[in-house]
């Protein structure tokens, strides 16, 4: 994954934002995750149309977080979601 990678939710997941926190289920694995506010916003933003750079820009606009910190945290979070097969990634070649 890099900043150009486009990220979307695995279609097998189901999720809702409840009380500001994302509750996500991956029925095939029986996994249920509850995310904190920032992670929930990332989850909302990964809709299959945005790349990671666009997600990061939005997070930095909405939350008081230094860009370097946001980048580290978002990559860590997306790696975890990818390992759990909760997201799908699409590499996009730079022009």
């Amino acid at each position: 994954m890099n900043l150009q990678t486009r990220v979307g939710k695995n279609r097998a997941t189901a999720s809702r934002i409840i009380g500001g926190e994302a509750v996500i289920i991956l029925p095939e694995k029986g996994e249920i995750k509850v995310l904190n506010a920032v992670a929930s916003r990332v989850w909302e933003l990964i809709d299959g149309t945005k790349n990671i750079r666009e997600v990061l820009d939005q997070i930095c606009q909405e939350f008081d977080v230094p860009p370097e910190q946001a980048e580290t945290d978002v990559f860590e979070f997306l790696t975890e979601l990818r390992d759990l097969q909760m997201i799908e990634t699409e590499a996009v070649n730079q022009p």
Partner: protein, 266 residues
């Protein structure tokens, strides 16, 4: 519910008889016993619940477990259940197969009818149902054993819930094993609270946030399937909008019952 064959074992009549009515059947199951001894073959770890493989294709369900295979067509509301040879000689196996099959079909139909089935004990407290849930070993059976001296039990393992505008109703049902401590067969009762059980050295309750409530109840919904994930999640969300959800810390005595009764009166 109607039991139409004279060949139905006594244990089945005992379990389902309370629910027998003269009205036409909503769902029809045909049961056969084959000479095959086992169906689904895989290693079962001691901590996993009884394995049932469920596949959903449109409105058709296919089920497979070590002891039976089943199909169900929701459009026709008809299903077939094929049991292994052990069911011929062991009534408990026959009952277990029928229960496992019927509760999955009932859970599927209930979900599509606007309700939900959850792994939870139901204790009658002040004309309401207190729903006690949690993973295996959290104390559902212990709590019903303690409560049954003074409180009727709707079920010690599984609740069938329907949603009304502002309430959730818990319905008595026959989908349980021969050892179930059910002794309430009256009308459906409103659920006063969902209580996630935690064994402790004291009795107390703590409210859960909405997201904690949804995720903890989701963990108690049986027969998850990718095809039903969104429907189940939406239904659980509706459930926690209508009924408060708590963490119930309890020690192995009847003290927790006064907390349930306090929940009813508040």
């Amino acid at each position: 519910m109607r039991l139409e064959s004279e060949l139905i074992p006594d244990g089945i009549r005992q379990t389902f008889g309370q629910f027998e009515t003269a009205s036409a059947a909503m769902l029809t199951f045909r049961i056969e016993i084959t000479s095959e001894s086992r169906f689904l073959r895989f290693q079962q770890s001691p901590n996993t619940p009884y394995p049932v493989e469920l596949k959903i294709d449109g409105e058709r369900l296919a089920l497979c477990s070590p002891d039976f295979q089943g199909t169900y067509d929701a459009a026709l509301r008809k299903g077939g259940l094929l049991m292994g040879s052990q069911a011929k000689t062991d009534e408990r196996v026959y009952l277990g197969n029928l229960q496992n099959y019927a509760r999955i079909v009932a859970g599927y139909e209930l979900l599509h009818a606007g309700g939900l089935m959850i792994h939870s004990a139901g204790i009658v407290a002040g004309q309401t149902c207190a729903a006690l849930f949690g993973p295996s070993g959290s104390g559902k059976t212990t709590s019903t054993l303690l409560a049954r001296e003074s409180h009727p039990i709707i079920n010690d393992d599984l609740l069938l819930l329907t949603l009304r505008e502002n309430t959730v109703l818990s319905h008595p049902h026959p989908f349980h094993g021969a050892d179930c401590r059910q002794n309430y067969y009256g009308d459906a009762l409103p659920v006063s609270g969902f209580y996630r059980l935690k064994k402790a050295d004291h009795d107390s309750i703590q409210p859960l946030t909405k997201s904690q409530a949804v995720s903890s109840i989701l963990s108690s919904v049986p027969f998850f399937s990718a095809a039903l994930g969104d429907l189940v999640l939406g239904r659980v969300e509706q459930l926690v909008e209508r009924v408060p959800v708590f963490e119930l810390y309890f020690k192995k005595d009847i003290g927790f019952l006064s907390l349930l009764e306090a929940g009813v009166s508040s």
